[in-house]
C-alpha cells in the first residue's frame, strides 16, 4: 500500500531563496511529483501556523524552504518561521500525528540541486510514513 502511495506535499517557498532554487531545479529538468503544491511567500516569516495546519488538513506533508539563518532579507523572518514550525510540531506530537510531516529547510537562492534533493528526501520520508491519518477524508 505504501509503495503505491503518492504523498501530497505543500511547499512554502520564500521568494528570495526557496522559490529561486525551485525555479532553477525546474529549469534543470529535475522532476517533481505532481502532488507538490508550491506556494510563493515574500518571506518565510509570512507563513503563519494556521497556513501549515490547513495544508496538513488537505495533504500529507508541509515543507518550508527559507533563506539561510543569517541571510534573511527581512533579518528575522526565517527565525520566526522556524519558531512557528516548532510550535506546529509540538501540536502534532500532542495529537499523535508524526511531526516529521512538517519540515523546515534552509538554502541559498541559487541551489536548485539542493532544493530537489531536499524535496526528494522529504518525499521519500513521507512515502515511508504513509498517508496522513489526520487528513480530511473525501
Amino acid at each position: 500500500m505504501k509503495g503505491d502511495f503518492e504523498p501530497k506535499i505543500t511547499a512554502f517557498c520564500c521568494e528570495h531563496s526557496g522559490l529561486l532554487s525551485a525555479n532553477m531545479a525546474v529549469e534543470s529538468r529535475f522532476v517533481f511529483s505532481n502532488d507538490v503544491q508550491m506556494i510563493r511567500v515574500p518571506c518565510s516569516g509570512k507563513i503563519e501556523a494556521i497556513h501549515i495546519m490547513k495544508a496538513l488538513e488537505e495533504g500529507d506533508g508541509v515543507a518550508v524552504f527559507a533563506c539561510h539563518k543569517e541571510a534573511c532579507q527581512f533579518l528575522r523572518g526565517n527565525l520566526r518561521a522556524e519558531a512557528r514550525v516548532s510550535s506546529i510540531k509540538e501540536i502534532l506530537k500532542e495529537i499523535g500525528v508524526e511531526e516529521e510531516r512538517v519540515q523546515m529547510y534552509y538554502l541559498a537562492p541559487s541551489n536548485g540541486i539542493k532544493f530537489a534533493q531536499l524535496l526528494r528526501v522529504f518525499y521519500e520520508n513521507l512515502k515511508k510514513l504513509g498517508p496522513n491519518v489526520g487528513r480530511k477524508v473525501g
Binding site: A49, I50, M53, L56, E57, I91, V97
Partner: protein, 222 residues
C-alpha cells in the same frame, strides 16, 4: 489584561469526545493580545481537533467565531445562532468568558479551552508577566508603583524576607525580588522614607478571602 494559555490539546479532546458539532468561540480582547484565544488561535485549535478526530476516524464539524469580547452580554449575543446549532461550545476566552456564555445560554454545554493564568502585561513580544493580584485594596501609592502582593513571592508588605539575594528571589534566580524593585524605585523617586511607614496587616476580605466579590454602582444603573 487577563493572561491565558491554551490547555493541552488532549485535555480539550477529552472534553469534546462525545460531540460531533461544536463551536469554538474565541475572544478578541485580552486572550487575543496574549495569543491564547483570538481568532488565529481558534483556527489553529479547530485545525488540530480536526486532524486528531480524523485520525480516530471520528470526524467533527467545527464552527468558529470570535466576538470582540466574551465577557459582556451584548458581545456574546452574536454567537446565539451558532450555539443553537451546535452540541457544545469550546470557549477560548478566560474563565469570565466561559461563565458569561454559561449564564447567557443556559442550555449550552460550554467547555474551557484556555487556562486563565494571571493579570499582567506583555513585557515583550511573547513574554507576559504578572502585575496585579486583584486584591481589592491597592497599596501601589506606598510602594512606588510596584505591587508587593504579586511581585513578592510571599506577598510581604514591609520589606524583603531573608531569601532576597543580589536582587533575586529565593524561589528562582531568574525572578526579581519584589522588595528590591520597590527599594530601587523609591530610591530613584527620592522617597525611601516611605519604607519607614509600617503597613498594617492586610485585610484580605477584599480579596478571595471575602468570598465571591460583587460591586454595585447605583449611580451607573439605568
Amino acid at each position: 489584561m487577563i493572561i491565558g494559555e491554551r490547555k493541552p490539546i488532549q485535555e480539550v479532546l477529552g472534553m469534546i469526545a462525545e460531540h460531533d458539532k461544536i463551536l469554538i468561540a474565541g475572544c478578541g480582547t485580552c486572550v487575543a493580545i496574549c495569543m491564547a484565544g483570538g481568532d488565529k488561535e481558534v483556527s489553529i485549535l479547530a485545525s488540530a481537533i480536526k486532524l486528531a478526530r480524523n485520525k480516530e476516524e471520528k470526524s467533527i464539524q467545527i464552527l468558529e467565531q470570535t466576538p470582540l469580547r466574551q465577557c459582556e452580554w451584548e458581545f456574546v449575543d452574536e454567537l446565539k445562532d451558532k450555539i443553537e446549532t451546535c452540541d457544545a461550545v469550546l470557549s477560548m476566552a478566560c474563565g469570565i468568558g466561559v461563565q458569561t456564555l454559561v449564564e447567557r445560554f443556559p442550555k449550552a454545554v460550554v467547555y474551557p479551552a484556555v487556562n486563565t493564568t494571571f493579570l499582567g502585561l506583555p513585557e515583550e513580544q511573547g513574554v507576559w508577566s504578572e502585575r496585579c493580584g486583584a486584591c481589592g485594596n491597592c497599596v501601589l501609592d506606598k510602594t512606588g508603583g510596584i505591587c508587593p502582593i504579586v511581585r513578592c513571592s510571599k506577598s510581604l508588605l514591609n520589606g524583603p524576607c531573608g531569601g532576597s539575594q543580589d536582587g533575586k528571589c529565593e524561589i528562582d534566580s531568574e525572578v526579581d525580588c519584589g522588595w528590591q524593585l520597590i527599594y530601587d524605585r523609591l530610591k530613584t523617586l527620592g522617597k525611601l522614607d516611605n519604607l519607614t511607614d509600617i503597613l498594617p496587616a492586610k485585610d484580605w476580605s477584599t480579596s478571595r478571602d471575602g468570598g465571591p466579590r460583587k460591586m454595585v454602582r447605583e449611580d451607573m444603573k439605568l
